[in-house]
Amino acid sequence: MAEKDEKSLFEAPPMAEQERMVEAILFATAEPVTVRELEARMPHGSDPAEAIVHLRKRYEGRGINVVKVDDAWAIRTAPDLGFLMQKETVEVRKLSRAAIETLAIVAYHQPVTRAEIEEIRGVSVSRGTIDQLIELEWIRFGRRKMTPGRPVTFVVTQEFLDHFGLESARDLPGLKELRAAGLLDNRPPPGAMLAASEDDETEDEDQSELF
C-alpha cells in the first residue's frame, strides 16, 4: 500500500497535463525558458522536451507561436500580425550606423575582438558603441583570445537572438553564403609576420590612450 502510494507520488503526470504545464510556464515568463528550467519546475519525471514538440505543433499557424531561442523556448505573437499591435510597440532607441555595423560584425564573426572589428570597419570603434550594445544586452564578453595580449572578445546574447527572432546564430541571414565566399575568414594582411601581428596588438590596445 505504502509502496504504491510512493510510486504514484513520483509518477510523471500524463503528457497532456505536461503540455498544459509547459504552456502555462512559457506564457507566464517573458524571457525564453530552457528545457532544464522547465524540468526543474515541473513534477519529477516530466519530459518537457516532448511536451514542447506537441505544444509547438498545436500552435502552428495560430496567432501566437512557440518559438525556439538558442536552447530555450518562448511564446511570441505571429510576426504577420504585428500591424495590430501598434499600441504595444515600444519605441526602440535608434541605433547609429556604427552600432548596427558593429552588431552585425559581432554576430557574424563571433567571437571577435575589438581590434578585429576595427580592422573590418576600417575605423576605430568609438567609445560608447560597445557600451550601448552591452547595455541593450545584445552583446557580451566572450572568452579571451589565445593570441598575444589575450584580448577579450565579444559574442551575441540570447536576448539578441530573441529580439531578431533567430533560433541560433547559425540562422543569421546570408551566413552560409558569406562563409562560402570566404568573407568570414580571418585573413591577415599579406606580409604580416608574427612579430608584426604582435606589434599590431599593442598598438591597438594603446590607441585610445595615445590620441
Binding site: A78, P79, T89, V92, Y108, L175, P189, P190
Partner: protein, 259 residues
C-alpha cells in the same frame, strides 16, 4: 602611348567623381568607407574591381581636396601614401629581389577588405530588416499575476560589476578634470617645433632627427612623438613647405625644405 592616353581619360572622369565626393567628405567613415563608395562607380562585381583604377580615383580625390584647400584627416593622407605606393608596385614589373608582399597580393587584400565591409553592410541591413521583438512580434503583455510566494532576491548586471571595480581601482587617480599631456605629443606641438627647424633643412633629412630631446628614450613617449612628427610632416608637405620621400616600405622617411 595608349596606356598613357587611357590614364588621362580616367583621371578626367576620376576628377569629376572626386569633385562630387568632396562635397560630403564628412559623411564618410574613414578611407575604407570612401574607397568602397568610389569602387561603386566602377559598376562591376567587387571581386573584379580594378584596384589600380581605384587607387587613381582615390589619389584624384585627395588631390582635388588639396586644391580646394580642404582639411583631410591624417588617416586619409596615410591611405593616399599607401595607395600611391601600391600603384607604383602594380605598374612596375615585379622585382624578383624585392622583399615583402607583391603588389598583386596587397591589391588582393584590399579588394578582400572592401568586399568584406560591403558584405557586412548588406547583412547588417538584412538583420535590421528582420521582424523584431517589441516591434513586429511580441512577448506576453502581462507578467504573471499569481502572487503566492514573495521572495526578495538581489541582482546586478555585469556593467554594474565592472563599473564598481573601475570605481575602486581608479579612486586614487580621481581629481578635477585636466588633460594629461605628459606622455602625449600633439600634432600641433610637433608642427610648432618643425616650423622653427625646417628653415635649416636644405638637404634630405630623416624625420626621426626632428624628434624632440627627451622623447626618444621612453617607448610610450617615443611612439607618440613619432606619430605626431610624422603627421606634422604630412601637414607641412600638404602646405607646400617641404618635400617628403620614402624609398621603400619601412625605409626611413626623409624631408627637406621645398625651394
Amino acid at each position: 602611348m595608349a596606356e598613357e592616353f587611357q590614364e588621362d581619360l580616367l583621371s578626367v572622369t576620376d576628377r569629376l567623381a572626386a569633385e562630387a565626393l568632396i562635397v560630403d567628405v564628412g559623411a564618410f567613415e574613414g578611407p575604407l568607407d570612401l574607397l568602397l563608395t568610389l569602387s561603386r562607380t566602377q559598376k562591376v562585381d567587387l571581386r573584379q574591381i580594378s584596384i589600380l583604377a581605384l587607387a587613381r580615383q582615390y589619389l584624384a580625390f585627395v588631390e582635388k581636396a588639396k586644391q580646394l584647400r580642404l582639411e583631410l584627416a591624417a588617416d586619409y593622407l596615410v591611405m593616399a601614401a599607401w595607395l600611391a605606393f601600391l600603384k607604383s608596385r602594380l605598374l612596375l614589373p615585379p622585382d624578383p629581389l624585392a622583399e615583402g608582399p607583391s603588389g598583386e597580393e596587397l591589391a588582393a587584400h584590399l579588394a578582400f577588405q572592401l568586399e568584406r565591409l560591403q558584405a557586412m553592410r548588406e547583412v547588417a541591413a538584412k538583420l535590421m530588416a528582420r521582424d523584431q521583438l517589441g516591434r513586429d512580434f511580441f512577448a506576453c503583455g502581462i507578467t504573471e499575476d499569481v502572487t503566492r510566494v514573495r521572495r526578495v532576491t538581489y541582482t546586478a548586471t555585469l556593467l554594474d560589476l565592472m563599473q564598481g571595480y573601475a570605481r575602486i581601482r581608479t579612486r586614487d587617480d580621481f581629481r578635477p578634470f585636466v588633460m594629461d599631456r605628459d606622455a602625449v605629443m600633439t600634432m600641433e606641438q610637433a608642427l610648432d617645433r618643425m616650423r622653427g627647424l625646417i628653415g635649416y633643412a636644405g638637404e634630405w633629412t630623416d624625420i626621426s632627427s626632428y624628434m624632440p630631446d627627451g622623447w626618444t628614450a621612453d617607448p610610450g613617449r617615443r611612439r607618440s612623438a613619432t606619430a605626431a612628427t610624422f603627421a606634422a610632416s604630412l601637414e607641412l608637405a600638404k602646405e607646400g613647405h617641404i618635400d617628403i620621400r620614402q624609398s621603400d616600405t619601412f625605409a626611413p622617411i626623409q624631408i627637406r625644405k621645398r625651394t
